[in-house]
Symmetry: C2
Subunit: 374 residues, 2 copies
């Protein structure tokens, strides 16, 4: 059996390991918390710091294959492991580009992939030279995650909230839709594309409201979204799973926002909605099996379950019984004992080919289910 390691032990690792149990594979996880969501679902849990060269190198040197569930890992150790024969998904060179918002934006520019205009900044002071560029979004180059490390700047006064560190200032565009296209790439370079996901954002709160897949948008836009996402993945030229997040503007143009070189929140519906989920697919890639079938069985919506504002401590899932009483609804609680505001604690998938039912149930769930403290 192949020995496969995952750097990071969060919910993505957890769902990867649920899928791993369908295949003959020996699994390893490294994380600095032995109570993390994935710790108990692997054969071998190793305590360690995924950003430390020594920890990552020592973890990886006994493995055949290594993957990540978060970008913020020690890439230098991965490069050394790759040189020594460990197969890594995605390639460390690609991870290095993606980890840095600056390198990532530069990459799209170099490859002539449509992505919004941007300016590189290294300090708040430098931002003062680019006031003409507002409204814009300031994104820290390294370590941003789940909305952290992002600052929207409408007017000159906003720049004091920016980052006094290497960052990109991206021209704010009028967004018609936020989309995500997940693409699987195997070692032969063959690809399998999942249906485009419509990430419906609450414009008022600037928070993801729910996701619908396949996205119900004009066909031409779907084609463009797939074409641009495929262009990104071909340019990266690495096997693995890639979630390409896109903006569609009101003129029907598609722009790359950013790419995650791993399984992604926007693909969680694929567990129930697709013949081969994104998690199943990554195992197929890592174990050298044929790519799976990305077709939808039914259309799906996802609602994320996030920690309620004002609640930090032991998690209690208010309304869980009501949600579990709903038909064609699938609950995934990630097993994090502690909640805090905005923390991703789980998700709910709704299956139906009736768009109205998807929306109705998504809204119902958002009004029923809350993560609070006990």
């Amino acid at each position: 059996m192949k020995k496969v390691g995952i750097l990071g032990g969060g919910q993505l690792g957890r769902m990867l390991l649920q899928a791993a149990a369908n295949y003959p594979v020996e699994t390893f996880v490294m994380e600095n918390d032995s109570n993390c969501p994935a710790a108990h679902l692997c054969q071998h849990f190793i305590m360690g710091d995924i950003t430390s060269f020594d920890d990552v190198y020592n973890f990886g040197k006994v493995l055949d294959v290594l993957t990540i569930e978060i970008e913020n890992v020690n890439v230098e150790a991965l490069q050394k492991l790759e040189a020594e024969g460990v197969t890594i998904y995605p390639k460390p060179a690609i991870l290095k580009i993606i980890k840095s918002k600056i390198l990532q934006k530069q990459f799209y520019k170099d490859k002539e992939i449509p992505s919004g205009d941007f300016i590189i900044t290294n300090s708040i002071d430098e931002l003062k030279d680019h006031l003409h560029f507002l409204p814009a979004v300031h994104k820290i180059s390294q370590g941003g995650y789940d909305g952290k490390g992002v600052c929207i700047m409408h007017k000159p006064e906003d720049i004091i909230n920016g980052f006094d560190a290497p960052a990109v200032l991206e021209k704010k565009m009028e967004i018609y839709k936020e989309l995500s296209v997940i693409i699987a790439v195997n070692s032969k370079g063959e690809t399998a594309i999942y249906n485009t996901v419509d990430m419906v954002v609450d414009q008022h709160l600037n928070l993801l409201s729910y996701q619908i897949s396949p996205a119900v948008i004009p066909e031409k836009l779907l084609w463009k979204a797939e074409a641009v996402a495929l262009m990104v993945v071909k340019a990266f030229n690495s096997p693995g799973i890639f979630a390409v997040e896109l903006f569609a503007d009101k003129e029907g143009n598609i722009w790359v926002n950013e790419t995650a070189p791993r399984v992604h929140n926007s693909g969680h519906h694929s567990i129930e909605a697709c013949y081969s989920s994104q998690f199943d697919m990554l195992w197929r890639i890592m174990l050298d099996y044929p790519l799976g079938n990305t077709d939808h069985i039914l259309s799906a919506a996802i609602v994320n379950i996030v920690g309620e504002q004002g609640h930090t401590g032991s998690a209690h899932y208010e309304g869980l019984n009501e949600v579990l009483a709903m038909d064609n609804v699938f609950v995934h609680i990630y097993g994090k004992s502690q909640t805090k505001p905005g923390r991703k604690m789980g998700h709910v998938t709704i299956l139906s080919n009736e768009p109205q039912e998807l929306l109705h149930k998504a809204n119902q769930i958002k009004n029923i289910l809350f993560v609070k403290t006990v």
Copy 2:
């Protein structure tokens, strides 16, 4: 979080634990092999003998809830644990009846549940008094499993192959169909019934060939099958998951063959085919959540992957790549390192609403996929 234990660490435990990762629960497994299929998927694995009073009692006394994945466990320890407040699915009293083929047949008779005629025997010698009862099936009362402990007797000479131990001699009937109905029962006594499964047997080899669900049989027979299965479960009067195996004869009568008070091979398709799988359902019952939706999303077939004759040793899955290249096919390998003839090593589920496609792919898989030694 509730502490829930599973006695037995085979594939049923493995699939239960895959489903458990969707819920907030702390999981425990006891088995006498630390490399068993379920060992690495729980929070707490305890080495122990599930037939030993002390081992089962010590395992269970720290738990809130206990369930089984095999009947052959120490029931006396479960009865003591139940008396001390541990909730056990199914009730130990029911398990005691079901564990014994003699008590089980007697139970159906007492409750006027249709089940074939039978005679209790205690030795091969006693069989000689019942030659008029042949053709018949001799089943050992305790510990039979997966076709072991069953002997078909056509003529008087066959009785020497019978069991020199407590057993039942069941009148052989002309079987039109072997069916299975899985029913979930929660603590309030509410039930949820899965669609009837057609267990298609290779009459030549007397081996399960494949399973189709929902069974494509006359509607009247489906109603009868559900009614009889529900009668069985109501008579047992215990929460849990029950697989009621039935015979349909050529006259359209339904007879109970036997009942498994646990998740069952005939329900594995429910992982992909149903909104709530049998594994998901048992967690809902054990965690006091509402019962799930047993509806089919699509029709399904299952092919079991069993160890090839003449191969004992490290398992190799010949043809796995070809099967994984098929669309709408789901592979489950149970992670047993050693194969032996007839050992259940995995299963494959096929989803389609085209009955011809189900049959065609089931046959294809049976002709492609073999478990051999390396």
